[in-house]
């Protein structure tokens, strides 16, 4: 018997059409009072969205890529059904669901469901403990900040706990701005109560009485779910301890990547421009409006209830010597199964990329880890375990969890240029080297990808990069050159090919590529001529590379693969 039908309705599910699926099911099943249709969050299998889970008395059945049609409805309602979705052992065997174990399994905005699944039990436990004991337990767990820096969480808490002040502030950093990262969005959309529980535990440990969640304005569903959850917390007095209420408020950012930096975030919360400032004083000494302030990331807070559920020692059993627990990664790029994965620290990059993500061995050049602040790691180093220290030794960082797979068809110079374009735009302009240095680096990369680069340009990048790192105040400038420096470290041959041979080995950089139509193969069907948006193909099937915009439409429509991208000038062979 069907008990409940759950539709994955985090932002990614909605973009894939989960809205229509839910509406369709609601309408078709409106007379079936025995079946409850529920909106849930994200279970991390983005490639399979829209995703429907049918709960029966004998367990759950999953349906992937569901469409709002009678055909799918019949499949869903069949009693002896089989899942159309198979959870691949390559993934399930390696993932370790702790932080995300409730994500996508419960109604995100139902306090009751969260409690039925053990929610707020950790908070109850903690309420009976002394602040010292709470901090000690977090130290024992070995939890380190999940936002990128990897600072030991317990130690950070102890700084704030030791302060004597009437007012202490706690901020949840939910300003997830890296292109390709969506771990924090997913947690806030799927299990908002878990994030709040982690924050309340931190408040008790540190004596904080005012809590903020600084969220991106671009995350409307996350903001909505957090606000509903906060209202429920107030209604049930969950945030009241010994008659004292701990205030929790969501504050929306206004579109500035640099506000992910803690001092910039504090300025923004105070109603100022989001410029970072010099530290010390550290926020734990002097933060929001001068009060001692602590900032942790969404995923860090979401880990906290788990620590008290199983105990710090047990928590620390998973992972490597200096990196404990699990890490969420947003897998994207050139791979088969994009999505959100939770893996134990110490798993190798290869296991995540090839086995869990389904990327083809031999077809992957590198991964970009940590987004625009991170670096690339070439495939030859994929046997390296994922932990804070190993990644740093390769010139990359753990970062917040964006993991973009770069296939062999992608140009590393162009990839570096893309990330630097992002950081250049987002530089707040306070430090000269970040403001102008990143701009000069970007211009240099643009020269190289357009075939106008020189060997001096490469030297210039190698010289300027470290200077930008040294002369910038905050994490944005200190990490902005990383994508350039790490691609120079591992893929210098690609830079040299662009500069010396005016050749893009991946045939991606448009200025270095011509389109060639092989008339030996061509069957003269005329599809290319018909579809070319700029009429660059003549009636006798010759491509005019002066007019052509390299949009690839002809290559995609050609039924016999007669058209290809070639090195510029190689069209006469």
């Amino acid at each position: 018997m069907i008990e409940r039908i759950k539709v994955g309705m985090a932002s990614c599910g909605i973009a894939a059409g989960a809205d229509e699926v839910k509406d369709f099911l609601d309408q078709k099943l409106k007379d079936r009072e025995d079946i409850e249709i529920l909106e849930v969050g994200c279970i991390g299998h983005c490639y399979a969205e829209p995703l429907v889970e049918v709960e029966t008395e004998s367990g759950s059945v999953f349906f992937e890529n569901v469409e709002p049609t009678e055909e799918y409805l019949d499949k869903i309602l069949e009693i002896d059904k089989e899942s159309t979705m198979s959870f691949r052992d390559e993934r399930t065997g390696r993932e370790h669901l702790k932080v995300t174990k409730l994500a996508g399994r419960i109604d995100p905005v139902s306090l009751q469901e969260y409690i039925e699944n053990g929610g707020y039990e950790s908070l109850k436990k903690v309420a009976k403990m002394s602040p010292d004991k709470i901090v000690e337990e977090v130290k024992t767990s070995g939890l380190r900040g999940r936002g990128g820096g990897g600072f030991p969480t317990g130690l950070k808490w102890s700084f704030l706990a030791s302060k004597e002040a009437d007012k202490k502030i706690l901020i949840c950093n939910a300003d997830e701005g890296d292109p390709g990262a969506f771990m924090d969005r997913s947690m806030m959309e799927s299990v908002p109560h878990q994030v709040i529980e982690g924050m309340l535990i931190a408040a008790l440990a540190t004596g904080s009485n005012e809590l903020f969640i600084y969220a991106r304005a671009e995350y409307p569903l996350a903001v909505k779910n957090m606000n509903i959850a906060i209202e429920q917390v107030y209604d049930s007095d969950i945030n009241v301890f010994d008659g004292e209420t701990i205030d929790v408020t969501v504050k929306e950012g206004a579109g500035a990547f640099v506000c992910g930096e803690e001092t910039a975030m504090i300025h923004s919360l105070e109603g100022n421009r989001g410029n970072p400032r010099y530290r010390p004083p550290y926020p734990t000494d002097e933060g929001y409006k001068g009060h001692p302030t602590l900032i942790n990331n969404v995923e860090t807070f979401a880990n906290v209830p788990i620590i008290f559920e199983e105990g710090g020692e047990k928590y620390a059993e998973l992972g490597t010597e200096n990196s404990k627990g699990t890490k969420l990664f947003a897998l994207a790029g050139d791979l088969k199964y994009a999505g959100l994965v939770e893996v134990p620290m110490g798993l190798t990059i290869g296991e995540v990329v090839y086995d869990m993500g389904g990327a083809e061995r031999g077809e992957v050049k590198a991964v970009q880890i940590g987004g625009p602040s991170g670096g690339c790691i070439p495939a030859k180093h994929f046997d390296v375990p994922i932990d804070y220290d190993s990644l740093e030794s390769l010139g990359a960082i753990m970062g917040s969890g964006g993991l973009i797979v770069i296939g062999s068809g992608r140009c590393m110079v162009e990839t570096a240029r893309y990330f630097l374009e992002f950081t250049t735009k987002e530089s707040c302009g306070k430090c000269t080297f970040c403001r102008i240095g990143t701009k000069r680096m970007l211009e240099t990369l643009e020269r190289i990808t357009s075939g106008e680069g020189t060997l001096e340009d490469i030297d210039f990048l190698e010289d300027l990069g470290p200077k930008v790192i040294d002369a910038s105040l905050c994490g944005l400038g200190q990490t902005a050159p990383n994508p350039v420096l790490s691609t120079l470290r591992y893929f210098k041959d690609e830079y040299l090919a662009h500069v010396e041979d005016k050749h893009c080995p991946a045939l991606q950089c448009n200025d270095l590529v011509d389109i060639y139509l092989d008339q030996e193969i061509c069957i003269e069907c005329g599809q290319c001529i018909k579809n070319c948006p700029v009429d660059a193909i003549s009636d006798d099937f010759v491509v005019d590379n002066e007019t052509c915009t390299r949009c690839n439409t002809c290559i995609e429509v050609c039924p016999v693969d007669a058209i290809s991208r070639v090195k510029r000038g190689d069209t006469n062979e």
């Binding site: 304005a217 206004a254 109603g271 421009r273 989001g274 448009n510 948006p533 700029v534 949009c551 439409t553």
Partner: protein
């Protein structure tokens, strides 16, 4: 100021206030800046300074028809810069500007998520895909005539 009167007059609510005003009027006018500045008792230059820092805030009134030119990866390689140029020529406005008659405004956006239809623009949220010059100018003309009637 009516829209923000529920806010406590504390500097930390400044960004929230600007967001509320933009939500109401679609942009932040000089007059709005004066009103916000008066409400919080902070100089107008500081209000302007804060709002100009954040990408979310707009200082020009959007047109009746808001054109968003998609410059996501797929549209970019399918010639979104040409699409934009056709609009610049036809409307006489650049990125972020509004025509004098207040009918059209244009901005480039990151990705509208309709990559299979590239290149695309959206007008007041409705997406038009697989554009060429002729098709685009006809769409614009249709809106223009609608505005006149």
């Amino acid at each position: 100021m009516e829209v923000i009167k529920s806010l406590e007059k504390d500097r930390s609510n400044l960004i929230k206030a600007i967001q509320m005003v933009q939500e109401e009027y679609g942009y932040i006018s000089d007059k709005s800046i004066e009103n916000i500045s008066e409400y919080f008792g902070i100089p107008t230059v500081e209000v302007e300074g804060v709002l100009s820092f954040y990408a979310q805030f707009k200082r020009t009134a959007p047109g009746e028809y808001k054109i968003a030119v998609c410059d996501g990866t797929a549209c970019h390689i399918k010639g979104s810069s040409r699409v934009k140029n056709w609009l610049v020529e036809d409307l006489g406005i650049d990125d972020g500007e509004t025509t004098e008659d207040g009918l059209f405004s244009m901005e480039t956006v990151a990705c509208l998520g309709c990559c299979s239809l590239a290149p695309v623009v959206s007008i007041n949220g409705k997406v038009y895909g697989k554009l060429d010059r002729e098709k685009l100018l006809k769409i614009i003309d249709d809106y223009r005539n609608r505005g006149e009637n």
